[in-house]
């Protein structure tokens, strides 16, 4: 068998293993980052065809001015400050700290046009719409 074929199989295997490791890490990772003294919010990412919709649950955040959304490469970074600290004093696993900040980094599945991005914050939920860079074309059906 050709060398390129074995290399191709090895690459697929490596990518699958990396994907499994990333998924396991994401599932096991607690929603707190002690080193950066922040909480990780719950979020969902949906592909709406021509745009990516991201919804982030940010309870405790009062206003849009307390939220920063930045994009780069194929990632989006969200930082938000809560109006007051939440105490986890009884919990050793939270290092008995108070936390007053959220931080989230999301890897995007496709390239997006950041210039056309929009975001709305309502009732503690941040909704970000990111139009895809790929332009769709229409095919005439006869």
């Amino acid at each position: 068998m050709e060398d390129w074929f074995y290399e191709y199989i090895r690459r697929i295997r490596r990518e699958i293993e990396e994907l499994i490791a990333e998924t396991e890490e994401r599932m096991m990772r607690p929603l707190v980052d002690y080193e950066r003294r922040c909480l990780l919010p719950l979020y969902e990412l949906r592909d709406l065809g021509d745009e990516i919709l991201i919804r982030v649950d940010l309870p405790g955040v009062e206003k849009a001015e307390d939220i920063t959304v930045k994009g780069g490469e194929n990632k989006i970074f969200i930082e938000a400050k809560m109006k007051r600290a939440t105490s986890f004093e009884g919990l050793v696993t939270y290092a008995r700290c108070n936390y007053q900040r959220y931080s989230l980094e999301i890897t995007l599945p496709v390239s997006v046009d950041y210039k056309k991005a929009s975001a709305v914050f309502r009732d503690g939920i941040l909704e970000i719409r990111l139009p895809k860079k790929v332009k769709f074309f229409k095919v005439k059906v006869e």
């Binding site: 607690p30 909480l39 969902e44 649950d57 309870p59 405790g60 009732d123 503690g124």
Partner: protein
Amino acid sequence: MWTLYDYKAPPENFKLLVGVPDVGLVGPIAASFLVRTLDLEMIAQLDSEEMPPLLLFHKARPLLPVRIYGKDDICILISEVAISPKVMPQLAKTVVDWAVKRKVASIIALSGIPVPNRIEIKTPKVYGAAIMDDDRAFLERNGIEILKEGFMSGLHALIMKECFLRKISGIALLVEAYLNYPDPGAAASLVSTLSKLYDLKVDVTPLKEQEEEIRIKLRELMKRTMETIRQTGKEYEYTLPPMYA
């Protein structure tokens, strides 16, 4: 295989409310609020060798994560962990067996219906489903819209199925809720409805005041619950049965 350790028998004709992690965690949020507000005492605990190897400590005392609380004619089953779909059928059987043995009047499952426009809803609506005709009439008399078509999934569906097979009273109260975020606002609607239906005289103001803190502190349980919801056939709730298409 589940084992139920009971310490105290409820009175005959009691009502058993069931609040386990599911859509928006509305069941456990409503159940734990009622346990605290009505000052219920623990009357039973449940365990299974197929559950994760966990022991819970609360106020320094050990507890099993799945427990039953009760006082007077109200009992509440609560779970503080997400329940794997693999152990749900046996849990439903064990709970209903116990309830029937103790002469339950009605089992009321508390859960949510995920709605895509939840962010636009100020007061989430509570829908009802019931096994017996009398219960459906009771819900309708109290202004609860009855769900007429569609599938139900999760532990509350299995508990309702056990009630159906044994021909006993089973009611599901399902509130409009976020699927994947803890939803204390929806839980408050559920508690208000329960209070009206069963004359519990419970004020939901403290629950509404704690809304943000509950949403922050239940993120981890919501994340674990989503992993189990994905395996419970929740997608069937969006599927129209062919008989009615």
